[in-house]
Assembly symmetry: C2
Homo-oligomer: 663 residues x 2
């Protein structure tokens, strides 16, 4: 045992946030706060002091901020992370003999006890601090010590002892030789703001076409950019843009055999034209791709690429690295399957391969290749079917040099696996949002995501639809269902996305009843969407995205709070900035078929509203304004008009006292 260790009397435990005992970092974006809580206590009754320490991982100098005592041995402190990258934090605490002495002295004086010896004790404690102090402060401490020891008047000495100035001075020079440093250094990954707040638009480039059957190109996508930018989306996510395999190519509606001219699934990656580092020849060239990235950027839109680590049988890897795939006794390579389902157009990569090192390096190279083309956001396809260790490694490797890169985990699998991937480094994650329809389901799920420890490492990205998911709610609820789901996605989630134009055009025909696949799915054919169709939701989406931009309450998920409504079809929740200067209240009628009404109950006290005065709620969707009063208010929503309110609370309501001639 270390001699020093054994005289350390302070214990630090129950530190929070701390993910899996510090095994994983927490996540923040630039400018956010890390609030740290801990149980801190010593034996006996001595006063203690505690500080929170933090530093950038690459720097050695710690910054200290004092922690504050709350209750029941619980302490709290915080720091702000101002740069992208990794931070480290830990805690330190010590028995504070000066504070103990000052506190006890006051009690003794109050009880009329003789404190002459105690004053001499205090003088010694103050004198001990002199060598630790600056020259100026040392002089002041010396004076205090003398004063405590030998002032003529005992009353003066007692006054000196309790002096706030002495307390502050001594707080600068505590005796920390036996301070306890928390045994762990905990980590924070700090991302750029878009990791926390983003609006995604997924689009198949090959369907950006003005004529049925013509294969769209990157140049066509450029023409589509203003449409996307005007709707207010800031991430344009493209499914794989690589050459598509020919062997076992799927036909329309996932037919096992393709007809001539069928383009195949973009996720069946690789042909003689190249693999994960090539673009499909019919989309254009790499230069065209880079141009698209630049044009998009000029309009405030960032291009995100799909990275799907799997290969069509024609992928160059299959010939060059057959050992990266699972061989069968008949000499064939094992295609993907989920028995009894077969995906013969796709070979999964075998992460148990002996040659895993080369494999990992090659896959890392895929990310770096696209980073070289200007991409900084990747949507990763099915990460849960690849090795966890690989993800932890590759994300860390990429972010070491490019800490601004964002990885979205597309894992629709079991909750613990989804959370694990987030812990391992994914910046954002898909969620079960698409299948959470009722008030009970939504409330329960989003309380878990936004109000439990999960939020420290898992950033939800909400999608009402994807090319694989046309939910039954959308199939059956008509246009109002699309309105409901877009309002929910965009306001429950600071990060959300839609798969368009299918979404804004309210496309809702399933392949067959009971299926969530689209009929004539774009995954297997080129579509020619009429984006200017009069029924399009493009105006609504544009408005919703503007509301998000103008209300910073909607740019984070941590303040989400559900409020009671006495009707199960009406859901009500709010988000607010920390200082409550921006409060957004959302009410949605979850029933796409019928008008519903009810009374809701709001925590107006928390919002600084007086129960006796009116306040204004301004519906940012319809621009209507209502005067409300107190915590209970009436709501009625007709899905045929608009199924939701997105209110901004406005405190000030004019009264006669504001009227010019009132006085």
């Amino acid at each position: 045992m270390q001699p020093q260790e054994d005289r350390k009397r302070v214990m630090i435990e129950g530190v929070n946030p701390e993910i899996d005992g510090g095994r994983y970092p927490i996540k923040r974006t630039v400018g956010e706060t890390v609030e740290v809580g801990a149980d801190i206590f010593a034996d006996g009754h001595d006063a203690i002091s505690a500080v929170l320490l933090h530093r950038k991982e690459t720097e050695s100098q710690w910054t200290e901020t004092p922690m504050e005592f709350l209750v029941n041995d619980r302490w709290k402190g915080f720091f702000v992370v101002n740069e992208i990258g990794r931070y480290v934090y830990t805690l330190e605490s010590w028995v504070d003999h000066f504070q103990t002495w000052q506190r006890d002295l006051v009690k003794k004086v109050d009880a009329g006890q003789d404190v002459s010896v105690d004053l001499r004790v205090g003088a010694e404690i103050v004198a001990d601090a002199i060598p630790r102090a600056s020259v100026v402060d040392a002089k002041r401490l010396k004076e205090w010590a003398t004063n405590l020891k030998s002032s003529r008047d005992l009353k003066d000495r007692v006054h000196a002892a309790a002096d706030e100035a002495l307390k502050l001075l001594m707080a600068r020079y505590p005796y920390r030789e036996f301070a306890t440093r928390y045994e762990k250094e905990l980590r924070v990954v700090v991302d750029r703001t878009r990791a926390r707040y983003s609006a995604w638009y997924e689009m198949f480039p090959r369907s950006c076409t003005d004529a049925a059957g013509r294969h769209g190109t990157f140049k066509d996508c450029e023409i589509r950019l203003p449409y996307i930018a005007q709707m207010g989306f800031d991430v344009l996510y493209l499914p794989p843009v690589h050459p598509v395999g020919r062997t076992h190519r799927k036909g329309r509606n996932n037919a096992p055999v393709a007809s001539p001219g069928d383009p195949g699934s973009p996720w069946a990656i690789g042909s003689e034209a190249g693999g994960h580092k090539a673009v499909h020849p019919r989309l254009g060239t790499l230069k065209d791709f880079r141009n698209l990235v630049s044009r998009a950027s000029e309009q405030g839109v960032e291009v995100a690429l799909d990275i799907a680590f799997q290969c069509a049988p024609d992928h160059p890897y299959v010939k060059k690295h057959p050992e990266w795939f699972r061989q069968r006794p008949d000499g064939t390579i094992q295609y993907a399957e989920n028995p009894p389902k077969k995906y013969q157009d796709i070979y999964p990569i075998n992460f148990e391969t002996e040659n895993w090192r080369a494999l990992w390096e090659e896959l890392k190279g895929v990310f770096l290749f696209w980073i070289d083309q200007g991409v900084r956001i990747f949507r990763v396809d099915n990460p849960h079917t690849k090795s966890f260790s690989f993800w932890e490694w590759v994300i860390a490797e990429v972010k070491r040099d490019y800490p601004e890169v964002i990885f979205l985990s597309e894992a629709f699998t079991r909750p613990k696996v989804m959370y694990r991937l987030a812990k391992l480094g994914f910046t954002q994650s898909y969620t079960y949002f698409a299948w959470r329809n009722t008030k009970w389901e939504i409330t329960r799920y989003f309380n878990e995501l936004c109000r439990s420890e999960v939020r420290e490492f898992f950033r939800p990205n909400l999608w009402p639809n994807t090319p694989d998911i046309l939910t039954e709610y959308l199939q059956m609820g008509g246009r109002p269902a699309f309105v409901v789901r877009s309002v929910l996605a965009a306001t429950l989630g600071a990060n959300y996305g839609i798969y368009g134009p299918a979404f804004e055009l309210c496309e809702n025909s399933p392949k067959e009843f009971g299926s969530e696949e689209y009929l004539d799915s774009e995954k297997y054919e080129i579509k020619n969407w009429n984006i200017e169709s009069p029924g399009s939701l493009q105006g609504l989406l544009g408005r919703i995205n503007r509301i998000r931009r103008e209300n910073s309450a909607l740019q984070s998920d941590w303040s989400l709070q559900f409020h009671p409504v006495d009707n199960e079809q009406l859901i009500c929740y709010s988000k607010n900035t920390k200082d409550y200067s921006n409060i957004v209240l959302v009410i949605v009628n979850l029933d796409p078929h019928h008008t519903h009404s009810g009374w809701l109950e709001l925590p107006i006290k928390d919002w600084g509203l007086e129960p006796t005065r009116s306040y204004q709620v301004h519906d940012l969707l319809s621009d209507a304004r209502y005067l409300w009063h107190g915590s209970r208010n009436y709501i009625e929503l007709d899905p045929q008009i608009v199924a939701a309110h997105i209110f901004r609370l406005r405190r000030r309501v004019r009264t006669e006292r504001d009227f010019d001639y009132f006085m």
Copy 2:
């Protein structure tokens, strides 16, 4: 990175029990089970297997037990600890290619797919296991492999593939090269049964006297032993038996100045006659003490000693080791204080002393000294005012050679400090039980102690009174209050104790109104108790302790479960053995003044009782028997008769079918 590490595909997390990330051991007693849960999963869809590993800390060989899959990636396993000492446990899991193959093959066959290549894949997996198998099993595996590969009839081969015998055989020889071993080895401290189940009786030896004013002796204590044993107590706890200091000795009722003849507080330890390794001359000799220990043991009673690490000013340590105490500028030693309260008869030890190593060794020597005298149970006074590191060290040191030693922590302080002391090694702990009176308070507190993670490290020992604590409930509730509190203590807590004879004689006069101190407290004077007083609870206590002995459900706290009663003054709870062969149901009227009645609701289904048949409840206190029916039953308790039922459930109720001539 380790090449091997990176091909390990299984993740193990959320392991439970695991105290503070494995920093502290969990606790068990001999014969108990350790049930371990964990989240275990791999990427993709492969089947996995998992085992729980355990060993004694001193042995190197692990024992493996298979874990079972529950739901949502949760697995469970268990092992039994059969010896006193320390155990270690951890987990291991791997992707099981054979299981995956067998599971998928069945699905493919069911879907009518061609599985001829799959059968060859299986043959290879089976053949791979041959080198790992015993000679006999290797031969059998070879046969299976041949069979799978080359049986004439495909149907036979499919049958072979799905065969349970093959599955069992393969389960013996899994491929574990890429198995994931959980990164932590977690510890269990296994104590003897008395750590879990004990009934304590605290008694001042000097008051074991037959004449007022005569100082009792160890020999007098021997005479008192049958009284204690007949009541069924198995631990006799003695306050400090050392010489009592003279300087600043307290008088009766804690008077600042003692009168001549006042014996002083036994906790003011040490005089010219010796310190912590000496006995008070008026109690007798060390030999007398050892005799008492032996006599007690013969009657099934174990003597527990109070260890209070503090010194009277006359303690030999003060002269020999002045550096172990805090010096004041006037040359005096700092006495104990909690401003404005002063305890001038006691010097606390300064654990921040430079000479801490010698101090620690000396204090450890105190334990070893009394172990040499035959003591194996220590009640430790105010451990929370001494260094935490010291406790962790000294308890581990003592238990290394004497793992049977039990340490009871007397820390009535803040919850986190109490829990920390338990984590550091204390075998049992005092609780807030004395101050938990209402149904809500009791339910909440005991759910925390017995049903949360706390139970893994904190063993409650319930005391309705102590020499320092005469609760207001006891002061005001008369004899029924004592009955209520003894039933609660003895049935809520497998470990409980009373401070007698004050308790069984229902002594309830406080020093003054608002104080929890006894009037004429035994701490400051010799008492002469009339233990055969007719109002004594000795009969009741004897019965309660016999009930505890005869019903193993009451010998552990983990099964405690509260049941609803529609009257706030009636509390109802049960304990049961794991197999429900012994179920004890306790109902207490918490109001010592009035009769209360109500309906209670029991989980009879969990208990294996049919809702349509009657069952018997046998009141072990009154010996009355009741026929009950269904889950709702009526209860009425008059505190003037007896304020509680302790029912044993008896399933079998005789019916006409049991009657001799029924058929």
